[in-house]
C-alpha cells in the first residue's frame, strides 16, 4: 500500500515538475486544437524542409547528429535524404519503402513489417495530424505562449518496446511541426528538428519513386 502511494506521489510530482519546469499547461480546449491542426493539415499538399536529427545517448553523454532534406506529399509519400555526415535515403510511398545506403538499395513492403508500419504512421501522422487519432497512443497536449506540445504515450505493445513517449512540438503561429522527440525507455532519445519549411510548393511524384 505504501509503495502504491509512493509510486503515485512520484508519478504525480514528475508530471507537475514537467509542467513547472517547461512552463507548459494542459491545452485548455483540446477539441479546438485538434480540429484546427486537422484543418491546416488538410490544406497541406506538400512540405519541403531541412532537418537535423540528433540521437542523444544519455549514459554516454554523447550526441550523434545528422542533417538532410525532408519532403512530404499527400497522401502518403515521404522522402528523407540524409546528407551529412553520411548519405542515406529513405522513401516511403504508400505501402512501399525504398532505402539507398551507399550503393546498396533495398525495397520493403511496409505491410510486411510492423515496425516500418509504425514509423510510417508516426511520421506521416505527425505531418497530417492523424497521429492524434492513432489508437496505438494515448495523447496528452500542453501549451505555452508560443507552442503546443503533444505527448504521445504508446499503448500498443510493439511500440512500448521502443518508446517511452513521443513529444511533438507544434508552432502556434502556423501549426507546423517543428520538433519530434522520440524518447526511449533507456533515457536515450532521437530528436528531429525541422527548419526552412516550404508549404505547398510543387514536388514531382518522381521524387518518391520506389524504383
Amino acid at each position: 500500500m505504501h509503495k502504491t502511494i509512493l509510486f503515485l506521489l512520484i508519478t504525480i510530482s514528475s508530471y507537475t515538475l514537467k509542467g513547472q519546469t517547461t512552463g507548459y499547461t494542459p491545452v485548455a480546449n483540446l477539441a479546438k486544437f485538434t480540429e484546427q491542426f486537422a484543418t491546416i493539415a488538410q490544406k497541406t499538399e506538400t512540405i519541403k524542409s531541412d532537418f537535423l536529427q540528433e540521437k542523444n545517448l544519455s549514459m554516454l553523454s554523447e550526441k550523434i547528429s545528422s542533417r538532410g532534406k525532408f519532403w512530404f506529399k499527400k497522401e502518403n509519400m515521404l522522402r528523407m535524404e540524409y546528407e551529412k555526415p553520411y548519405e542515406y535515403l529513405m522513401i516511403l510511398n504508400k505501402d512501399n519503402m525504398y532505402i539507398k545506403d551507399g550503393k546498396k538499395e533495398s525495397r520493403v513492403s511496409v505491410k510486411s513489417n510492423k515496425i516500418f508500419q509504425q514509423i510510417n504512421k508516426i511520421i506521416v501522422g505527425c505531418v497530417q495530424g492523424a497521429v492524434f487519432n492513432n489508437p496505438d497512443f494515448k495523447m496528452n497536449a500542453y501549451e505555452n505562449k508560443g507552442v503546443y506540445m503533444v505527448e504521445l504515450v504508446p499503448v500498443a505493445k510493439v511500440l512500448k518496446e521502443f518508446f517511452k513517449n513521443i513529444d511533438i512540438t507544434i508552432d502556434k503561429k502556423d501549426y507546423s511541426v517543428t520538433t519530434i522527440v522520440m524518447n526511449e525507455n533507456s533515457g536515450d532519445n532521437t530528436t528531429l528538428h525541422f527548419t526552412n519549411r516550404e508549404l505547398n510548393t510543387p514536388i514531382p511524384d518522381a521524387l518518391f519513386a520506389v524504383k
Binding site: 536529427q53 540521437k55 545517448l57 554516454l60 550523434i64 555526415p85 553520411y86 546498396k104 533507456s186 536515450d188
Partner: protein, 205 residues
C-alpha cells in the same frame, strides 16, 4: 576404458594444436601486438551488416568512458537502437540494451567475441605465445574454446589480419586498416562458418 581415456586425451591435444601446428616457434614479446590496439576514445562508424541474406545498416559508436569501460552502441540511421554493449576493464561484459529480434544468446556471444578480437584487450593478450612461418608472425592467444590470433608481417610493422579460431580452423577473419591517430578507418569482420559480415567505415564528425 584406460585406452579410451588415453585416446581421448591424445585427440584433444592434437585437436588443440592443429590450427597453428605448422608454425615454427618464434621469440619476442607477446605484448608487442598491443601497439595495434585501437584507441577507441570516441569513434563513429558507418556500419553495414550482412547476415544470412539480410542487410542491415546503421551507425556504430564506440566510446571509452572515464572508468575505462568501452561502450559500443549500434543504431540505424533513423535512430532506432539495435544494441548497447559495455566491455569492462576487468573483462566483464554487460548488455544495456538489445532489440528483441537480436536478443538471443548465440547472437550476443558472437558479437561480444568479434568486438573483443578487434579491441586487442590487454588481459586477453597477456597469456599468448608467438609463432612464425616464412611470411608472417602469429601472436596466438589461447581462449576457452579456441584461439584469437593476430597476424603481422615478418617485421611486425603491419597488422595483416586477425582471426578467431576453433581448435581446428579459423572461423572469423578480421582486418583493421588505415589508422589515423590510433583509430582504424576501416574495419572488416567476416565469419567463415556462416554468412555473417560486418563492415565499418569511420565517419569524420
Amino acid at each position: 576404458m584406460r585406452y579410451l581415456l588415453l585416446s581421448s586425451c591424445l585427440l584433444m591435444l592434437v585437436g588443440c594444436s592443429s590450427v597453428y601446428k605448422n608454425l615454427q616457434p618464434a621469440t619476442g614479446d607477446i605484448n608487442y601486438i598491443g601497439k595495434f590496439r585501437p584507441d577507441f576514445r570516441l569513434a563513429l562508424y558507418k556500419t553495414e551488416v550482412d547476415v544470412v541474406g539480410h542487410h542491415l545498416s546503421g551507425l556504430l559508436l564506440i566510446k571509452t568512458l572515464p572508468d575505462s569501460s568501452v561502450r559500443i552502441v549500434f543504431s540505424n540511421e533513423v535512430g532506432f537502437k539495435f544494441f548497447d554493449f559495455e566491455f569492462r576493464p576487468d573483462g566483464g561484459f554487460k548488455v544495456y540494451y538489445v532489440v528483441k529480434q537480436m536478443d538471443k544468446k548465440p547472437v550476443i556471444k558472437t558479437l561480444k567475441k568479434d568486438f573483443e578480437l578487434i579491441m586487442l584487450r590487454e588481459q586477453d593478450i597477456r597469456n599468448g605465445y608467438l609463432g612464425k612461418d616464412d611470411h608472417a608472425l602469429y601472436y596466438i592467444i589461447k581462449r576457452p574454446k579456441g584461439f584469437f590470433c593476430y597476424v603481422t608481417d615478418k617485421e611486425g610493422t603491419e597488422l595483416e589480419r586477425m582471426e578467431i579460431s576453433s581448435p581446428r580452423k579459423p572461423i572469423v577473419q578480421a582486418i583493421m586498416r588505415n589508422y589515423k591517430n590510433g583509430v582504424p578507418d576501416t574495419i572488416g569482420i567476416t565469419h567463415k562458418n556462416f554468412s555473417f559480415a560486418i563492415a565499418l567505415k569511420r565517419i569524420e564528425r
